[in-house]
Symmetry: C2
Subunit: 431 residues, 2 copies
């Protein structure tokens, strides 16, 4: 089937899937998990073939060893994938929820109900677990999905999607609910299908996300980068700040919620920066910064710019005159992801929380908390730095929209305007 | 100032406006309303100049008389505009609301708070009241706005925006919160400003909306067309159905929520269609339809296609085998706006409500109810046929997003994973 035919099938299947009860979708997820267990040998063989190709590319310097590691499956990893599918099945249902109910007039009741978005297109890179995780999230939320894997994971993805479709057929769900497209040309085709695809989710490098954002008019859920700041206020518990900065930088440096820049209030810079330099040196973190920061801290190299996501053990430091300057810096160079203030002054904290425009604004806590699981969503669909639809860590809710149902008994709009117009009652009802 | 400078000023002003208390924004709206009253003469003079140019274009056939009518202000219309600004000021505040509150752990509390989107760009055509209405909705929701009026209303819009900015200055709000750009080149510039503008709202013809949708990667709130259907089920109260169809077609034929196509179940078509033909003839509605519909109803011309928004007293009729065929027709030709079923069978109704994918799905009621005021929103920002962010009639809420505030006491992510990991509590708190 062509990409267009697959997308048309996904659209048709989305109408079916949207009305299939939750327990039937959960049963299909359970069958999916079993399939992964029953067919481990076949999956690992396909993965070994992908890995072999990748190792050849690694030798020729055309692929990084990090990519090869992300690509490689093991029996244990496969068991984790099956467990993750079951965990998704166990999450609360997100569609069919009555969000609001309003009586417009006697016998005329409006209901706002959550429904699936429709068709998702997910474009990802080397991770085989993305196939099962995303398919599970899609089916759990009543959506259908078209998967476009990176070239390096094509053989594994083909086997996995084959098994998922077999699980769908066995559970009499539409097979077209999960499909796979391969090759670079398919990406351009998918990005042009504004009538068939409701949401595009790019999963991978900054380059991939930016390419997708720049080449489609379909809404995109994701973030190209995470340039997170920690502002060290003039009223600060230095030890607390050092611990939080160390956590935010070193816990997982390549994560999007890791800190990239520390902004230090000038009033405490002379005292705080040498401590920061010492702490970072102990953690093998390279400091880069302004001349002023270098003079105060020592051991600080010159910073290139203020909007680089280092993604490793590198941290930029800047001295700012006050909170105003810190906020201007954050709005200018930040990516709207997560920003934190370290202060012992509650009014300073509240001002920062109020004024900073980002998906997450924190007080006395590590930026690394920006995560769907830590927020208690049970699952994370992605992190959005867009302000539209979903912002910050996105749970299953982010894969839903709503529709308005209006139940009447022959009401005419003509009765509600003009002379002798009937008034609306607009009475909120319990949901 | 250039369009870019105005947009940069709007962005800077958006950070200020987002933290200005509601009462100060409401005071500015009251001052705006007074300004309209105090400067009626100046506004009407500018409008007269616009109308004079428009009349010249009308004579040369370059403008429709409908456009000239939409353009023309009167003292009464101006008073209505001022009243509408005051009504907007009186609406409940939509920003700063705590939407969710969750304890992640002792002393670590997450709060989801509604905040303004930021900068709106509104591209509209001939209506001068759009200037005051949109500026009021933007300020009420803490957003800033860049207005691009149609050429025919430029002089009126320039005077109105001048007065609004004066009201902002008098109330010490940032003047850059409302600005005006003129000329076709400015539209292309605005649509390219993905970093500065958060939402584009096109207001006007289908052509305008489609042009905007096709030429920007900024999220767009709006709808290019409203192709709404009414399905007459086999179990139907014919009189009720005829009354609802007449209302949905004739109450305001150019509205996006007017019905364009009636789908009639074959089991009742022979009985229902002649009655429909008679009722529509009495209402001077031209019927177009399939051969089968024409044979049964008489007085039915051939239909060109099934996805034309007539916007006048024209109605397409089609005979369908059953509800399945009706739903397939709706999903194929509908615009996802509003769809209604006329039936006396409750289970048929519920099936239609569940299965039809549209912003509004109705039972026994006119499609014309799809409207923010009728839904009880107090104001309507627009109607969205997108599934992302806001769907259907959109109230002031549609101009907000949210941010997550996290208040802690030095928590580190490192404590919550690995050996001896602290568990999260994830306790929902009252808001």
């Amino acid at each position: 089937m062509s990409t267009l035919e697959l997308a048309q099938a996904a659209k048709a299947a989305s109408h079916t899937l949207a009305v299939i009860p939750a327990d039937r979708r959960n049963e299909a997820l359970e069958r999916m998990a079993q399939m992964l267990e029953e067919n481990a040998e076949q999956i690992l063989a396909a993965n070994a073939a992908d890995v072999e190709v990748a190792l050849g590319l690694l030798e020729r310097g055309e692929l990084s060893s990090a990519t090869v590691n992300r690509l490689r499956l093991s029996p244990q990893k496969l068991a984790e994938m099956a467990a993750s599918v079951r965990a998704t099945a166990a999450l609360p249902e997100v569609t069919g929820k009555v969000l609001e109910r309003v009586e417009l007039d006697e016998g005329l009741e409006l209901e706002k109900v959550s429904v699936p978005l429709g068709v998702l297109a997910v474009i990802f890179e080397a991770r085989p677990d993305a196939v099962t995780q995303i398919s599970a999230l899609a089916l759990k939320s009543g959506n259908t999905v078209i998967l476009k894997p990176g070239k390096e994971v094509e053989q594994t993805a083909t086997v996995l999607v084959g098994l998922i479709r077999q699980a769908l057929i066995e559970k009499t769900l539409p097979e077209g609910a999960v499909s796979l497209v391969l090759g670079r040309a398919a990406v351009a085709e998918l990005l042009g299908m504004t009538e068939l695809i409701d949401l595009v989710i790019p999963r991978g490098s900054k380059q991939l996300v930016q390419y997708v954002q720049a080449n489609t008019r379909i809404p995109v859920l994701g973030h190209a980068e995470g340039i997170c700041h920690i502002f060290v206020d003039e009223a600060v518990d230095a030890e607390l700040a050092l611990a939080v900065i160390a956590d935010a930088k070193t816990d997982y440096p390549s994560a999007c919620n890791a800190v990239e820049t520390v902004l230090v209030h000038r009033a405490v810079a002379a005292e705080f920066l040498p401590k920061l330099a010492e702490r970072m040196a102990a953690a093998k973190v390279l400091l880069l910064g302004s001349d002023e920061a270098a003079t105060l801290a020592g051991q600080v190299g010159p910073v290139g710019d203020w909007n680089t996501e280092y993604g490793d053990l590198t941290l930029a430091v800047q001295v700012v005159a006050d909170m105003d300057e810190a906020i201007v810096h954050i709005h200018r160079y930040g990516s709207g992801h997560t920003e934190s203030i370290m202060t012992t002054d509650a009014s300073h904290a509240e001002r920062f929380l109020r004024e900073v425009d980002a998906a997450g604004v924190y007080h006395n806590v590590s930026t690394r908390f920006a995560d769907g699981f830590r927020y208690g969503f049970g699952a994370e669909v992605g992190v959005s730095t867009s302000k539209i639809h979903a912002r910050g860590p996105v749970g299953l809710d982010g894969l839903t929209t709503y529709k308005y149902l209006l139940r009447g008994s022959g009401q005419l709009v003509g009765s509600y305007h003009g002379r002798d117009a009937r008034p609306f009652t607009h009475v909120k009802k319990p949901v």
